[in-house]
Amino acid sequence: MAKLSRNWGPLHPVADETERLAKSELPRERQLEIYRYLKLNRMTEDRLSNLYRQGKVVGGLYSSRGQEAISVGSAYALEPQDIVGPLIRNLGTMFVRGVQPREVMMQYMARADGPTGGKDVNTHFGDLQRCLVAPISMLGALIPVMAGIALAGRMQKKNLVALTYIGDGGTSTGDFHEGLNFAAVLNVPFVLIAEHNGYAYSTPTSKQMRVKNIVTRAAAYGIPGEMVDGNDVLAVYEATKRAVERARSGGGPTLIEAKTFRMRGHAEHDDAGYVPKEMFEEWKKKDPIERFERHLLSSGLAVEEDLKKIVAEIDEELNREVDAALASPMPPAERAFEGVYSEVTK
């Protein structure tokens, strides 16, 4: 079992050594807002789990449990004009960008009023008004596409940065290489966050690559790379902020590697029996939300009551969101045939 963990074990010393979070100048209100997004991410997924068990989710359900700090911390570092392409485990990113939980619930339940009207699944929706791009299931494909968004943004003088994510498994694709290389050559304002969560479905990182750290690959593209504790939301925020500012000021792309751990299976149906139990136990101690709670309390930014109040508000909000999502009907059958082509003329 030790063999499986060799790739990232040494980078994650025992829990108490990584307990302290990165230094951040973020004021109290903003840190509490980050806390709210983290909890919203996790509590929405808990609600989705319930809906899944009730048979209301039509397809598979994907969890970002344990990885919420990466989504929330990185999205929180963006400016309003920046454009982001979240993947399946980046629900928190979507919330920071203004997506409502009911939209995600309706997508999972294939309802008529969901953002794609039942045409596509789970988090596969986008809205450029909200600076969100939808992914496709083929991992890596979004990397050149988001680099193209960054290129267009530069041509249009929009002063924007494009950001997307990739998993450890997704770094093995050709598009990871082609996209990052082309982005580097063109020096476009682009940030790629590699979420190193140990497993791609059942395949451990040791079977994806011989390098220990994904971030070493940045050197191959001649771009800056930064490794960050993905379970420290402030560290992710600060690292992303540095990368985004560099990109915006003409410094080109950055590859950030965020070390974390996938605390569920690939999807809800997968019990992750191939993951050694002690790994879950070890990583549970480093839970990013509990760590952030301890930080807020110990640094005097919040008292128990503050956090309880936030949780209670989210709980109430999610009651309304679930009701609204369940009230939406299934789409009318004729919608299946509509919208293949855009009819909008120039």
């Binding site: 953002p115 290129l151 050559v185």
Partner: protein
């Protein structure tokens, strides 16, 4: 009089002059002006921001263009040879094609490049892979057979809000010359052109095979066989109306295309005729295509592989007496 390749260059040049969102990505398109000179002079005129030399990364070229297109730009990607479009299959087929249906976002993208054989290019510089993409929802596919159409269709493709694959025929690049009228000369995507009217038998075709059909028609006049030639021009979406109209007129059809026969555009055209005009037919719908082999290099082998005037004339005579 301008050549087919000059018509393509003009179309891009003029669209870039009048719309600053139009830009080019491709390999060796800058200082070199493109392997076939389709972008000659463009770097000097429009600068490196709009004439982007790419690494050998077809997937990233198309991916980049998709991202830019979603932002309202009008990228035109050059495949140095259209055979290499295979390396960008996922971006075209899974990203660009379904995007509007999936989440309502336009992808006004053009991927263009030289297709086709007859130039001894061997297997990786001679292909006609259009039928592979014909299967993909959300894509449009264009394959002009004349210089006028190349210019007008490329302009229409650049202005279209959907991803358009533009299959040029390299055999035609410098072999045909035509008079180009003043103005945009837009040719609508989705409309076939009746290239020759006739009574006896219809040849439905596109690309370089158009010229094979027209030459065969001239030769068959002596036999008293009057060929009608329909140039599809757009392969997706097909112009069903024009296809069915010519079938109803002549009742005998050969679908002539330069692709391997199995899973071909020709097969799709034949199927539509069988479904919608069976009662009008006096003979089976015949496909004259390439065999299901890779494309051979040696002239004797490639000539055996490609349809030509002799093969078409023989097939017409056979079918006329069915």
């Amino acid at each position: 009089m301008i050549t087919y390749i000059e018509a393509i260059r003009q179309a891009m040049w003029e669209e870039m002059e009048q719309d600053e969102s139009v830009f080019l990505i491709g390999q060796d398109i800058g200082i070199y002006g493109g392997a076939f000179r389709a972008t000659a002079g463009m770097l000097e005129r429009f600068g490196p921001e709009r004439v982007i030399d790419s690494p050998i990364s077809e997937s990233a070229m198309v991916g980049m263009a998709i991202g830019a297109a979603m932002m309202g730009m009008r990228p035109v990607v050059e495949m140095q040879f259209i055979d290499f479009i295979a390396c960008a299959f996922n971006q075209i087929y899974n990203f660009a094609g379904p995007n509007h249906y999936r989440w309502g976002q336009n992808v006004p993208l053009v991927v263009r490049g030289p297709s086709g054989g007859g130039v001894r290019g061997s297997n990786f510089h001679s292909q006609n892979p259009e039928s592979i993409f014909q299967h993909g929802p959300g894509l449009k596919i264009v394959a002009p057979g004349t210089a006028v159409d190349a210019r007008g269709l490329l302009k229409a493709a650049i202005r279209d809000p959907n991803p358009v694959l533009f299959f040029e025929h390299k055999f035609l690049y410098r072999r045909i010359k035509e008079e180009i009228a003043e103005g945009d000369g837009l040719v609508p995507i989705g409309k076939a052109n009746l290239a020759r009217t006739g009574r006896d038998l219809s040849v439905i075709t596109y690309g370089a095979m158009l010229h094979v059909a027209l030459e065969a028609a001239g030769r068959l006049e002596a036999d008293g066989i009057d060929l009608e030639v329909l140039d599809l021009r757009t392969i997706k979406p097909l112009d069903d109306e024009a296809i069915l109209a010519t079938v109803r007129k002549t009742s005998r059809v050969i679908v002539l295309t330069e692709e391997q026969r199995s899973g071909s555009v020709a097969g799709e055209v034949a199927a539509r005729i069988s479904e919608h005009a069976f009662e009008w037919l006096d003979s089976p719908v015949v496909r004259l295509c390439c065999p299901d082999t890779p494309i051979p290099y040696s002239p004797t082998l490639e000539d055996a592989y490609l349809p030509n005037v002799d093969k078409l004339v023989a097939k017409v005579r056979e079918l006329a007496s069915y």
